[in-house]
Subunit: 503 residues, 2 copies
């Protein structure tokens, strides 16, 4: 990883295993410093722009991405093999995210303005509080969304919206796509009046470490592996000035099928599970890694049939394929695991096959530390439980996940059990899904894409949805400040018409 | 500090230097574990209580503190020598904080409920997001507010309000007071229906380390020194499961006097500064450590006279007195510092005298690392600046502080300079004060008592005011969840009538 003779990063086709796309030079220490300093210089200008002007710049970036759709999809498909339909949708999701944050800025509620009037009877001064940009931000791209969680993805969009310039560490899985997106978005921002240096790109493993240790960087956003995330979290915490590290790491996403649902719609559930497990070759942080089903009944066999009928394609990189195969081999050695089904792999160079094991709840609970670890890819455990009481005890001990799902049939008497399961999952997951599958994360105001450790390093925050902007904001209070010197968000007349609390 | 032969902690009178109050046993490792486990058992019960019931319990605790006023003030005055008037006011502030958080709970806005309706046209599900309690919390008491930042202070009140049981590590400066407050508040909470274990107290240096490393503890609140805070922050970050550490450490609180104000009201400013610097023997985290005044004019000499006329009393502990004297000795060795004034010390055993030095802006800027460090106690630097342009460059380089203050006279032409100073301070301090002094922190909705590193370890949060509850909350989203199984905060009918965003 740190071979200093490698002077460039180049993509590899998951279909052929051959190099693809233009090579991208690895950033030198001087280039990382220059990028962080450029972001630092841009910060006072970008953060001081009226929110409405930042909103216009984000919309210009969104328009530029949409206009480059054909070029971008071709580049990304060569490097990721995710296919044109998926990548076309992902560009739209990415430009949509930029537009959502423009909406967040115009709404103005994101500053959480609070005005407490002076109270002469207690000598209390006039106090007005709002949130403002934190400083320059580093963003680590993810492999599995070359647009939506990459150079101009949710981390970048929310940080730019907050007023924070960004330095992106490109993912080595799609280097040419990253360069193209950076060029297009930085150009659009510049034309829309943003200062030079508001979006910067660096490449290479060592650039990442240098970036999080750079004194100009004030926060880090990350989506990736547990090992990589923990290492960067530790670097952030050990700095002379520690900075927040918002990392989304691994998640096993428990799914519970309650007895009534299992009895009423076993076939539909088996198909739904196999579809969610294998979607995108299982390369989603919300992949359903643990399926809890009642003992007995036809569901387990139906799951076996459904998964055996699935074929999955190439993983994004050879490293990820190797990681999947290694984890599958580890699980293959666990005596209590019985292979329930194996699907097929396409003939892509990095292809892997789906694999599902089954085991009883008791055996799972006894090996929670080993079996509760994420397997990134289309692999899952089907855990059979004897009764809901035993189940909820184990659910309450699960490692933190981004999501938890419950399949229930109220008419078949599942409601009390659903309530018990919800009480157990509520403190173990960030999003609770009823009669649905965890893959698919809607970009909207109420989304929460976060969860307890180890699914994220900061369970207070989300990386998807309008409140993702919270990560890049810090409060400031003005005491007895003259109205004409206050930011417009806090002036008496509320000239921006934003939601505020007074009291 | 870690002498294991010390089996108890006992207070010392700052007036006489003699032991005072009952000795309090140091907590054993088993006792720390039992306290954390008690909090863990209380968590599901306390966090699941309706917010209105938690509000009633907080009000019962407030009433119980007020009812014990005489006993509490006597205990605390013996251990801290802060005097009856100040301590009487502080008990009222403490019960007032508990009542403010009851108001926060009834208001309901603290859960930040957001409802995004389903959109069949894009297959978007129904999503509803709110915030809920994080888990059991450890609180480290401060020395300088034996009630308001101690066992039942702002950290504890906000955590309990959020639904988080608390284990307090008592401050060794007021052990008997801590035991009495814990007994009174825990008893009142229990009588009001709170589960056993919702408030627990541990004592001793080693208990603190064991507490932050305990797996049941999910977050830590701290007010204290830079060294202690950094050590505990590092422990929290190094845990197998890292947890947030909300530490308020040191702050130099720059105060700028602009030329017009200096010309128009020099005497008033000199008196105001001397009063703020020496209030409570300077033992406030908002103590004005740096005063920037224009070169020339009578203000510097008036400051010298005002400070020379002040006498200060005992510091809270012998360790704090020794720390003050050591820092004063270090500053005494700095060649560019000229002693401007020394005040008098009372004949209390732990008394210290106020001391102020002066130096030019250029010399200060050249030694920013040394001179920008907090001196806890009644000591300050008076820094003379040649012009506002030079001043703002240095202000932008200051270490992070809780507060920054500007004294301006708009009629005398200070407004443009005030705007420049505000722009420079805005990203270096958490609260900006106009024509006032930083000591005095109003407990209200709009207060922000936080700031950039090293004034706090988490600049996104405040430890005073209604939004202090934010530290103990994590979001959870419900997707397509049946209305009758949702928490009342998210149900269609909004039965609690709380503020929510829909869209």
């Amino acid at each position: 990883m740190t071979d200093t003779t490698i002077a460039s990063v180049r993509g590899t086709s998951p279909r052929t295993g051959e190099p693809v796309g233009d090579p991208v030079p690895v950033s030198t220490a001087e280039e990382v410093d220059a990028a962080a300093r450029a972001a630092e210089r841009a910060f006072p200008v970008w953060s001081a722009l009226p929110a409405a002007e930042r909103a216009q710049a984000l919309e210009a970036a969104a328009d530029a991405l949409d206009a480059a759709l054909t070029e971008l999809v071709a580049l990304a498909d060569a490097e990721t093999a995710l296919g044109e339909p998926r990548l076309t949708g992902e560009v739209a999701r990415t430009s949509g995210q930029l537009r959502l944050f423009a909406e967040v800025l115009r709404d103005g509620g994101y500053v959480q303005a609070v005005l407490t009037p002076a109270d002469p009877s207690t000598a209390r001064p006039d106090l007005r509080r709002m949130r403002q940009a934190m400083g320059p931000v580093a963003v680590f791209s993810a492999s599995n969304f070359p647009f939506a969680f990459s150079v101009a993805g949710g981390d970048t969009a929310s940080a730019l919206a907050a007023g924070c310039p960004v330095v992106v560490k490109a993912h080595e899985g799609h280097p040419a796509t990253s360069v193209a997106v950076a060029r297009i978005v930085a150009g659009a921002l510049r034309e829309a009046g943003a200062p030079e240096g508001v979006l910067n790109l660096v490449s290479g493993f060592e650039a990442g470490g240098a970036l999080v240790n750079h004194p100009a960087i004030k926060a880090v956003g990350f989506t990736g592996s547990y090992a990589g995330g923990r290492a960067l979290f530790d670097l952030c915490a050990a700095r002379p000035e520690p900075i927040p590290f918002y990392g989304e790491l691994g998640s096993v996403n428990p799914v519970v099928v309650l007895p009534g649902a299992a009895a009423e719609r076993a076939t539909e559930l088996a198909e739904g599970y196999a579809g969610s497990l294998t979607l995108g070759t299982g390369q989603f942080c919300t992949n359903p890694g643990l399926l809890f089903v009642p003992e007995g009944g036809p569901l387990v066999d139906l799951v076996a049939t459904a998964v055996a009928g699935k074929s999955t394609g190439g993983m994004l990189t050879s490293r990820m394929r190797d990681g999947y195969e290694a984890r599958v081999a580890v699980l293959g050695e666990v005596a209590t695991l019985e292979v329930l089904a194996s699907g097929a792999a396409s003939d892509d160079s990095f292809a892997v096959a789906p694999r599902v094991w089954k085991l009883p709840l008791k055996a799972f609970a006894d090996q929670l530390e080993t079996l509760g670890e994420e397997c990134f890819g289309p692999a899952g455990l089907v855990i059979t439980y004897p009764d809901v009481e035993s189940l909820v005890k184990v659910l309450a001990e699960l490692p933190g996940s981004l999501t938890g799902s419950v399949h229930a049939d109220a008419a078949a008497g599942d409601a009390p059990a659903a309530e018990q399961v919800a009480a157990a999952l509520r403190h173990r997951v960030g999003r609770m899904i009823y009669n649905g599958w965890p893959t698919g994360v809607a970009v909207c105001w109420a989304m929460h894409h976060g969860g307890p450790w180890p699914s994220t390093t900061s369970s207070q925050y989300t990386s998807v949805g309008a409140t993702a902007i919270d990560r890049w904001l810090v409060p400031v209070a003005y005491q007895d400040w003259p109205d004409e010197l206050l930011p417009p968000e806090l002036q008496d007349a509320n000239p921006l018409g934003i939601p505020r609390r007074v009291g």
